[in-house]
Each structure stands twice: as structure tokens, then as C-alpha cells.
């Protein structure tokens, strides 16, 4: 399935959006059937809209701004929905400590876990060179005297070559950028002191590629590393992240343990997560069984969950907030937009009562007048909605580098391609909702009543 | 100069410019109106009678010439001064009544009084007197939409006289009324003149209306062509197209 079809189906996933799409399709169909009069109708609609440019303009700008907010909100919801919806094929799973947050496992676990802990003949074995990755977290400050957002760095310590193979969000990079990142990762293998940092983080600590820094760790106390910044992640979800070769950290812990009388407190707790890529759900269940039945993982116990489920757990704290975004903020704004359109259309119908009566005298049918008024609202809504989502897409993605509203471990949200027609759909939907009553009113205008009032 | 005159117009000229074209509406007009006089302004469409009325009432400024009303020269006043002056000295009656539709008869009549330094009690007294005068004491709280055309015009008249102005100007006051209502309104104007000694200047193209006045000024192309007592006014057929003044 192509990505367009996929996003189309995702779009129709919500009953509200499905309803809107069906309604607009019916409307479109009607216009197509009446192709003979379509030009005439469109011209009338256009003339009516240009009659009071101030009003049309105000309505359009208001719609534009409201669609902007809704697009931002829906982007966040869309993305979180995407990362928390379970897939049945080719998905990732996370192995972590069973009970505790943060998950801290002995590094010795990684060998077996990276293969999915096969024990017997016939067990599923993950190809750990391709489909597994380990994460160890190393947090540090570049200024030992303080720890502020202008001085802290947070690293995913992993096998550098796994970055482009296993990490999410590679679609946010161009093929050329991926190639560049791969090149840096190869360098990181050769010289384990080399790291890649996100654009925003680099900016925040006011450092540039090529600089060497001395770090003071706050989670690995007394394991202070020296790094060299080899590359900068382009605009992406990795804006705030850092990537380090895991060997660098592990070697430093070993060195510490050799020198000091007491082992480092995090010695047996340095492995935080193991990621596996699994082909399908039954295999996930198989691996789950293998890991839970293995006698090797008891202190501490471990668990495996799909990435979607893991993310969903982390988002738990935000559930009411997200619920509010979805069911209060966005609907309120949509309703406001429908009302603004309704006000504009009601005014214009009210001003045109006599004219509409004349049209009726000439022979226009009530439903033709209905569609004329609906058409005006829908045209304004659709045009400003489309313009807004297009504008939002380019403004936010290209100029601001995404919506920087950190939720859980997602620092930034990029407007998806789907959003390009959310605006159109919102415009059509709110235009329709807003003009329903005014247009019904318009087609019920009685000729006699209007003329008696005028004279 | 007549010591009894309330309105003195000297050498009044009014022109409008449209593009490069200069349209003379009134040309070197001179006239006087006596205190307590009921004057009708007649003339075909475009003769300048409404413009003259607007100038005397302080709604417009002349291009040249002098207008004196009472002891004031209004032709040199600024717009703000004119507004304040109008409130105290001029009452207006319009062809289409021009009542505010959301306000009751009482409230419409009260409107001009709000601009004067009166207490609520004083206002109430004056409004009730004015509405009593026009015979609408029983319609105080009706809105214009609930009144007939004649009744609405009577509210208009009450509003015009409520602040006790020296001058009442009326632009086609019967133009939108059936003949019976028109007759009543004209009768009321005559009463105003007689009992309250109001000076009334009325623009009309209806000879019957003009006949109720004491004196008729006939304008044509911005010039005064007749100035005669109403009694000696001979009915002339209206020129074609002269439906509105």
C-alpha cells in the first residue's frame, strides 16, 4: 500500500472525519451531476463573496488562524496515535526491567536479549547484527558548577552502526542526510570519543561541530568523559539528542572498577533498554515466551513489550491532557470557526433577502438557493483552510523546525503530509456546519413577505 | 430688515462639484421667514428646495452667502457647533419618519432631550406633553412597527417639538401617507403654529399640503420664482418627473 493510501485510511479512521469526507463527496457529486450549471453557480458564488470583501476577508483570515491551531493540535495527536498504534508486521519491541522505572539491567543481559533469548532448538533467534540495538543513557553537564538547560547533554549510548538501521524517524531525513549520518557513525566506531548532537542542543550549549568538550556526568557519577562533536543531526526529532558509542561508556565503567576499591554503583545497572525488530505478532509472542521463561533474567526480572505499548505507557501521564486536546480544544476551535462562518453567512443572507426573493420570482428553486449559500460558506472555508494548512506545513516544518512542545520523550512534532488536506476538510466541514441554518433560512424566504416589508 | 424675522438668508449660493463639473443648486438666494410663520417650499425635482431646507436647518454649509437664524449666524459654524445648535433650536420632521425601530414612541421622543442638561423628571414631563400634543398619550410604549404611518409621523412631530425649538423643518411630511393621515398631520402642523407659535418650514410638492401654509416659496433651478401668500396660490400642474423634491 502506498503512503497516500495509508494516510488516507488513517485519515478516515475517525468517524468524524469519515463523515465529513462522505458529506463533501456527496456535495461534490451533486455539483458534478449538475455540470451544466456549475459555471453559473460558481460565478454567482464568487460574485457574492466579492461583494463585501471586508467581510469575506475577515472570515477567511479568522478561519485561517483557527485552522492553524487545529492543525498543530492534530499533528501532535496524529503523531502520538501513530507511534502508539500496534502494528502486526515488522514492528519493534522493547526489552526492559520488569518492575522499575527507570529500567536498569546488567550489561551482561544484552548478549542473550539481543537475540531474543533463544534456549532450545526451534526457538526464534533475532539477527542481532541487524535487528537489535541496546540503549544506555548517559547524562552530563559541560559545566561542572551547574546543571541548566544551557549546559546539559543527554546521550543514547549504542552501537553507532545501528543508528540508521534501528532508530525511528529516519524518514525525516533525506537519503543524502542518512548517508552523511552513516558516515559519521562509521567514524564513531573508529574513534569512540566522537559523538553526534542534535541541532537545538548544540545551539543551546552554544557549541559547534569539531569542538571537544569535557563532560561531568550526573547519572554516572565520577565517570567523566571527553567527547568530540563530529556531526549535527539535521532538523528532526533528534534535535535535542546525542548519540555516543556504547563502548566508550562501558570501557570507562570498567576502567573505574579496575582503579577503585568499590565497583561503580551502576556497574550492574548500565543497560537500560534493548530494542528488537520482529517480523510479526506470533513471533513477538514466541520471543515474549522465550524471555519470560529464561532463567537468566531474574535479578532483575525483565519484560518485553511492543514499542507502541511502551510509548503508550509513557504517555499515560499525559492521557488527560491529550484527551483535552482531542475532545475539548480542537472541537471548541472548530465550533468557534463554524460560528464565525455562520455569522458572516447569516449577515449576508439577511442583507440579500430582497435579492433572494427576486431570484425566487425569476424561478430559482429553494434548493438551488440553498446550495448557493452553502457553496459560499464552503468555498470560503475550503480556500482559507487549504491555504492555512499549506502555510502551516511550510512555516512550521521549514521555518520553525516543527512544533516544539515536548511531550514525554518527543521534543518536536513535524506537520505530516496528511495535514495538507486536513485544512481543506476542516474548511468544508465547518463551512457546511456554519451555513446549514442560514442557508435553510435563505431558501425559506417568502417572496411576499420580503416585498411587503420593503415597500 | 424685518424685526419679526427669525430666518434671514442673504445672497445664498450652494454648488456641488462632481469631477470638474460645477453644479449650481442655489444661486444668490435671499429671503426672510417671520417668527411664527408657516412656510411651504415648493418646486420641481432638483429645484433646490430640500437643499435650502437643509441649509437653514444647519445640516449643510453654504458655498457662499449668509444664513442667520434667530440671533445666530449659522453659515460660519463648524460641524460640532451646528450639531449643538440644532439640538436646541431646530426640530426635524422627515418624509419616512426615521424613528429608531428598537425604541418605543416615548423613547424616540426623549432622544433629543438626552443631549440637553435636563433631569429625568423634566424630560419625562416634556416627552409626555409632546406626545399628548400629537394625541398619542395612549401609545407611549409602542414601537414604531406597532404604529400606523400617520401615528409614526405624529411621533416624529412630537420628537421635533419636544425640545421646544424655535424652528421646525419638515421635508415632505405627508409624502408617505394616505390622504386622510396626511390631512391629520397637516392639521397638527397648523395647531403647532397656532398654539405654540412655532415657525415651520415645510418642503412639499403636494399643493394641498402647501395650501395649509401661510406663504409659499416656489423654487426653480435654484432660484426663487414666486413668493406669495398661500391664499393666492394657484394650483399649477406638476412638471413631469417631479415626484420627489
Amino acid at each position: 500500500m502506498g503512503s497516500w493510501e495509508k494516510s488516507f485510511l488513517q485519515f478516515l479512521d475517525s468517524p468524524v472525519r469519515l463523515g465529513l469526507a462522505v458529506l463533501s463527496a456527496i456535495l461534490l457529486l451533486f455539483f458534478i451531476i449538475r455540470l451544466g450549471s456549475i459555471y453559473f453557480f460558481l460565478r454567482l458564488i464568487f460574485l457574492n463573496l466579492t461583494r463585501n470583501l471586508v467581510r469575506t476577508g475577515l472570515t477567511a483570515v479568522a478561519s485561517f488562524m483557527l485552522v492553524f491551531v487545529v492543525t498543530l493540535v492534530w499533528t501532535i495527536l496524529w503523531f502520538l496515535n501513530l507511534v502508539t498504534s500496534e502494528k502486526s508486521k515488522d514492528f519493534k519491541a522493547i526489552v526492559s526491567e520488569r518492575w522499575q522505572i527507570p529500567s536498569q539491567m546488567p550489561f551482561a543481559y544484552q548478549g542473550a536479549l539481543s537475540e531474543g533469548a533463544p534456549a532450545m532448538e526451534g526457538d526464534f533467534k533475532v539477527d542481532s547484527s541487524r535487528d537489535a540495538m541496546t540503549w544506555q543513557f548517559y547524562g552530563a553537564t559541560i559545566d561542572p558548577t551547574k546543571r541548566t538547560r544551557e549546559s546539559i547533554l543527554f546521550f543514547f549510548c549504542m552501537e553507532p552502526l545501528k543508528f540508521t538501521k534501528m532508530m525511528d524517524g529516519m524518514d525525516e531525513f533525506t537519503p543524502k542526510q542518512v548517508e552523511q549520518i552513516n558516515h559519521w557513525c562509521e567514524e564513531m566506531v573508529k574513534d569512540k570519543r566522537k559523538v553526534i548532537l542534535g541541532k537545538d542542543r548544540l545551539q543551546a550549549i552554544n557549541k559547534r561541530v569539531g569542538e571537544r568538550l569535557k563532560l561531568t556526568s550526573f547519572n554516572y557519577k565520577d565517570i567523566d568523559l571527553e567527547i568530540e562533536i563530529i556531526g549535527e543531526f539535521p532538523e528532526s526529532r533528534y534535535n535535542q539528542s546525542g548519540i555516543m558509542n556504547r563502548d566508550y561508556l562501558n570501557d570507562a565503567v570498567d576502567a573505574y572498577n579496575r582503579k577503585k576499591p568499590l565497583k561503580h554503583p551502576l556497574t550492574a545497572k548500565s543497560l537500560n533498554l534493548v530494542w528488537l525488530r520482529l517480523p510479526e505478532t506470533p513471533i513477538f509472542q514466541q520471543v515474549e515466551k522465550q524471555i519470560s521463561e529464561s532463567p537468566s533474567f531474574t535479578a532483575p526480572a525483565v519484560k518485553i513489550e511492543t514499542a507502541a505499548s511502551g510509548v503508550a505507557t509513557f504517555l499515560d501521564a499525559y492521557r488527560d491532557l491529550l484527551w483535552g486536546l482531542r475532545w475539548i480544544l480542537a472541537p471548541f476551535i472548530l465550533a468557534t470557526m463554524a460560528l464565525i462562518i455562520a455569522v458572516a453567512i447569516s449577515i449576508s443572507v439577511r442583507e440579500r433577502r430582497k435579492e433572494i426573493a427576486v431570484m425566487k420570482v425569476i424561478g430559482f428553486l429553494p434548493r438551488q438557493i440553498l446550495f448557493l449559500v452553502l457553496g459560499e460558506a464552503i468555498l470560503v472555508g475550503a480556500l482559507s483552510g487549504t491555504a492555512s494548512s499549506l502555510g502551516t506545513y511550510f512555516l512550521i516544518n521549514d521555518y520553525f523546525g516543527g512544533i516544539k512542545f515536548p511531550i514525554a520523550f518527543f521534543p518536536v512534532f513535524l506537520i505530516p503530509g496528511d495535514a495538507l488536506w486536513w485544512g481543506t476538510a476542516i474548511g468544508v466541514g465547518t463551512g457546511l456546519a456554519g451555513s446549514l441554518f442560514p442557508s435553510l433560512g435563505a431558501c425559506r424566504i417568502r417572496v411576499s413577505e420580503v416585498f411587503s416589508r420593503i415597500s | 430688515m424685518n424685526p419679526d424675522s427669525i430666518v434671514r438668508v442673504k445672497n445664498l449660493t450652494k454648488f456641488f462639484t462632481r469631477g470638474s463639473e460645477k453644479i449650481e443648486v442655489l444661486e444668490h438666494l435671499t429671503l426672510e421667514v417671520n417668527r411664527g410663520e408657516f412656510l411651504a417650499l415648493m418646486g420641481p425635482s432638483g429645484s433646490g428646495k430640500t437643499t435650502l431646507l437643509n441649509l437653514i436647518a444647519g445640516l449643510d454649509s453654504p458655498s457662499d452667502g449668509v444664513i442667520e437664524v434667530g440671533d445666530k449666524t449659522i453659515s460660519g459654524m463648524s460641524e460640532t457647533e451646528l450639531a449643538a445648535w440644532r439640538t436646541r433650536h431646530v426640530g426635524f420632521i422627515f418624509q419616512f419618519y426615521h424613528l429608531l425601530h428598537v425604541l418605543t414612541a416615548y423613547e424616540n421622543v426623549e432622544l433629543p432631550l438626552l443631549l440637553l442638561p435636563l433631569t429625568a423628571k423634566e424630560r419625562k414631563k416634556q416627552v409626555l406633553t409632546a406626545l399628548d400634543l400629537v394625541g398619542l398619550s395612549d401609545r407611549l410604549h409602542h414601537r414604531p412597527g406597532q404604529l400606523s404611518g400617520g401615528q409614526q409621523q405624529r411621533v416624529g412631530i412630537a420628537r421635533a417639538v419636544v425640545s421646544d425649538p424655535d424652528l421646525v423643518v419638515a421635508d415632505e411630511p405627508t409624502g408617505d401617507l394616505d390622504s386622510k393621515s396626511a390631512e391629520e398631520i397637516l392639521e397638527l402642523l397648523v395647531v403647532l403654529k397656532k398654539t405654540l407659535n412655532k415657525t415651520i418650514i415645510m418642503v412639499t410638492h403636494d399643493p394641498r399640503a402647501a395650501a395649509r401654509a401661510e406663504r409659499i416659496l416656489h423654487l426653480e433651478k435654484g432660484k426663487l420664482v414666486h413668493d406669495i401668500p398661500a391664499a393666492s396660490y394657484s394650483y399649477e400642474p406638476e412638471p413631469l418627473g417631479g415626484l420627489h423634491g
Binding site: A299, G324, V343 | L103, L115
Partner: protein, 447 residues
């Protein structure tokens, strides 16, 4: 001057200004009001747009307000909170037994009648717990539960000034204590007697766990499972509006063993006064050399968690500003239409002697009136949000964070702020049309 007073003064000033303008404008307010009524469908829709905008603003602010109230009421100014140096969060803090036992004898720490220091020894862990399938919502299968191992529950209650709402504190004691024999009834299994760990918990988490056992909320005596063992609710904390509302407190030793954290994450010291607390915090940071610790007055600690709130406030401000544009343009349309419909009225008023600025005031006040009515309705609608509970998270922005349960709180300052916001929208949207009304030429309008 606090925010409520400031807002009240602004509000009073605006109302006074409104009355003054109405007085100077002379055009009766009822004229404006009745026109709004006559064109009720359009007025209603415009007002409703205002109601929606203000209502939305209220709900969003109620959320943040609830968070601020929570952080404001979670700490005490005379308590000092001690973490290990470098810990961004209690989760990452490790204090040794020896350190804590020395710290609690700091001279600033208040003693009880038996001479024991009022210090709360705590180990904080976050437990990842599966949700039974029948209690799952929105597809989430697991939840994080905050568990606090407590050495002496009554003493900790004293330090945090927490009382029990029902039940009793869990028992402590050498060897035994903290465990109660309960009979477990599991579906499809014979009832059996087991030793369950005793806990006290906040009302919020009791309500959160209730549905797992098909109850609205857990009550004292209820048994539940967490992290591979069974626990029994000994008591419920009267923990409204504090972060402890979403915590489970259990015997320290059990927590340390079960969840593998044998160090203390936190020790909270009660001093005699806020000044003493300041002194103690400073002294511990500067002079306690055996282990590097960070000591802060508890209220300051919670203030530092307000970073999330500030982020939310910025987001709310952003959304409100943009949505306000909708309201402003809506009322502009309405007022422009009102004027084009009433040029006749304007002409008459001008001829009767009303000055242009009086016409401006009349239409400006009409817009304000509409905004005010819509705003009042919005405040009322928004106030329905008051009292609802919601989960959220708060953090200092440098890693870590606390899951909390807050109560949406609508208060006077929000109402006043909402009304002022509404009036500001009305003023911005009403001004241009009012200028247009002022410029209507009386003679032309009547032609």
C-alpha cells in the same frame, strides 16, 4: 498586590469606563441592547463564539491553576528536602544509610517530645505495572505507579502534615510488621491465606487502581497486586491537592528489597520555622562533606517543578491569542453589518444633534456589551470544569518528572481575567466598525 486585586481593579476600571462612556455618549444603552435582541440570531452566534473562546480559556487555565495549586500545597516552607547531589529527580537520588542518620541530627531539625528528630526517610521508586485487560482504557496496557518506601509512617505523616482519611498507618517493627495475613479470593481458585505488604495510599491512586478490582476505589482492607506480590490497603491518606495523592507508601524494607533500591532517595527534615529551614538547607549544602547532597526548602523544590506549568501557560497564551483573532473578526463582521443596517438610525441621531464621537461610543459599547454577555456565559460554562480531576505530569525541565493527579480549579482571578480578555476582544473587534459608524454622513445616509 496579588493578582486577584490587580485584576479586580482593572475590571472595576473597565466597568467604570464603560459607565462613563455610556453617560457621555448619551445614546441610550437600551438602544444598543435592543438592537442586539432584534438581530438575535447573529448576536447569539457572535456571543456564542465568545462563550466558546472564553470557556476554552477557562478550562485550560483551570488545568494549569490546578497544577499550581498542587505544587503550592505539596511542600511546606519549614521543611528541607535533601537529595543526593546531581540527582535531577528523586528517582536518581541515592543517599546512604549513614548519611541520612547523620543528616537527621542536624541542629535545625525539630524534635518530638521523645527527642527524636522529625525526619522522614524515604525511598522513591516508580513501578511499571500491567493493567488487567478489563480495566484498560485507550489501549494502554501498563501504568507507572509511584511507590515510596517509608521507614516510620507516622513520623513521615507528621513531617508532611498528612493525616489518614480512613484506616490506619501500616505497622513497623523489627523483623515482622508491615505485613498482614489476608485471605485471597481469586476467580477460579481456592481461597488461600497469604502475607500481604501493608500500604497507605493517596485517594487519587486508590481511585486509579479501583477499576482493576471492579471497584470505584480501593478501600482499607482491599488486597491488590503490584510488582510480583500482594499488598493490602491499611489506610488512605487525606492527600487532596498534593503530589502524595498519587503515591503508595509502604514499609521501607519491603520496597527496598522488592524493587531493588537499597539506598534512600530522599530525606525530608522538619524545622521550627521557614527561616530555620533556609539556614539548614544552606548549611547542609555548604558544610556537609561526607556525601555531596543538595538540600532545598521543600516549597522551593516544588516551585522548581513548575517548569511544565510555565510551558503550558505559554502554550495556552499562544492558543488563546490565535483563537481570540477568531472572536475579534467575528464581532467585527457583526458590527460592520449592524452599522450598514443602521446607517439610517445613525443619520437621524446625527441630525438630532448627536456628535460623531457619541455615535462611535454607542457602537463601541454595543460591541463591548455583546462581548461581555458572551464572556460571562463563557466564564459560567468554564466554571463547570471546576472540581474535575485530571492526571498530568510536572517536571523541572531537566529530566525526570512526577505524575500527578490534580483538580481543575476555577477561581475568581480566572473569571476576572476571562471577562477582561473577552472585553479586550470586544474592544479590538468593535473599534474599527465604531470608527466607520462615526464617519457615516448624516444627509447621505437618509437619502
Amino acid at each position: 498586590m496579588d493578582l486577584v486585586t490587580t485584576l479586580a481593579i482593572y475590571f472595576a476600571a473597565v466597568i467604570a469606563g464603560f459607565i462613563l462612556l455610556a453617560f457621555l455618549g448619551k445614546v441610550p444603552l437600551k438602544y444598543s441592547l435592543r438592537n442586539l435582541i432584534v438581530r438575535w440570531p447573529i448576536s447569539l452566534m457572535t456571543g456564542l463564539a465568545f462563550t466558546l473562546v472564553i470557556g476554552l480559556l477557562m478550562v485550560m487555565l483551570a488545568f494549569v491553576n490546578g497544577m499550581y495549586r498542587l505544587t503550592g500545597s505539596s511542600g511546606y516552607p519549614d521543611n528541607v528536602l535533601v537529595l543526593s547531589d546531581g540527582a535531577t529527580d528523586e528517582v536518581f537520588s541515592h543517599l546512604g544509610f549513614r548519611d541520612v542518620s547523620e543528616i537527621e541530627f542536624h541542629p535545625s531539625v525539630q524534635r518530638d517530645e521523645k527527642g527524636k528528630p522529625l525526619a522522614s526517610w524515604e525511598t522513591y521508586v516508580i513501578v511499571n505495572q500491567p493493567i488487567p485487560s478489563h480495566a484498560r482504557k485507550d489501549g494502554r496496557k501498563r501504568r507507572f505507579i509511584q511507590v515510596r518506601g517509608i521507614l516510620d509512617p507516622e513520623r513521615s505523616g507528621q513531617v508532611h502534615r498528612l493525616k489518614l482519611k480512613s484506616g490506619q498507618w501500616f505497622t513497623t517493627g523489627e523483623g515482622g510488621g508491615g505485613v498482614r495475613e489476608v485471605t485471597l479470593h481469586e476467580p477460579g481458585k481456592e481461597p488461600r491465606t497469604i502475607g500481604a505488604g501493608e500500604v497507605v495510599m493517596g485517594l487519587g491512586i486508590a481511585r486509579e487502581l479501583g477499576p482493576d478490582y471492579r471497584k470505584e476505589s480501593l478501600e482499607p482492607g482491599d488486597v491488590f497486586s503490584l510488582g510480583d506480590r500482594y499488598w493490602v490497603v491499611a489506610g488512605l491518606l487525606d492527600s487532596h491537592d498534593s503530589t502524595f495523592n498519587s503515591e503508595i507508601w509502604a514499609k521501607w524494607k519491603t520496597v527496598a528489597e522488592r524493587f531493588g533500591k537499597e539506598t534512600f532517595s530522599t530525606v525530608v527534615l522538619k524545622t521550627v520555622s521557614p527561616e530555620e529551614a533556609q539556614r539548614a538547607a544552606k548549611d547542609l549544602v555548604q558544610n556537609y562533606k561526607k556525601a555531596a547532597v543538595q538540600a532545598v526548602v521543600e516549597t522551593e523544590y516544588y516551585d522548581s517543578l513548575n517548569n511544565t506549568n510555565q510551558q503550558f501557560l505559554i502554550a495556552i497564551g499562544f492558543v488563546a491569542a490565535i483563537v481570540a483573532i477568531g472572536g475579534i473578526f467575528g464581532i467585527m463582521n457583526t458590527m460592520f453589518a449592524a452599522i450598514s443596517q443602521r446607517v439610517n438610525d445613525i443619520g437621524v441621531l446625527r441630525i438630532l444633534g448627536f456628535a460623531p464621537w457619541q455615535i462611535l461610543i454607542s457602537f463601541f459599547l454595543e460591541a463591548l456589551l455583546l462581548a461581555f454577555i458572551g464572556g460571562v456565559a463563557g466564564c459560567l460554562a468554564g466554571s463547570f470544569a471546576d472540581g474535575f480531576t485530571a492526571s498530568s505530569i510536572m517536571s523541572s525541565g531537566t529530566g525526570g518528572g512526577k505524575s500527578i493527579m490534580l483538580r481543575l480549579t476555577v477561581d475568581l482571578k480566572m473569571m476576572l481575567g476571562g471577562l477582561l480578555f473577552s472585553l479586550a476582544m470586544g474592544a479590538l473587534g468593535g473599534f474599527l466598525p465604531a470608527i466607520a459608524a462615526m464617519r457615516v454622513k448624516p444627509l447621505e445616509s437618509l437619502r
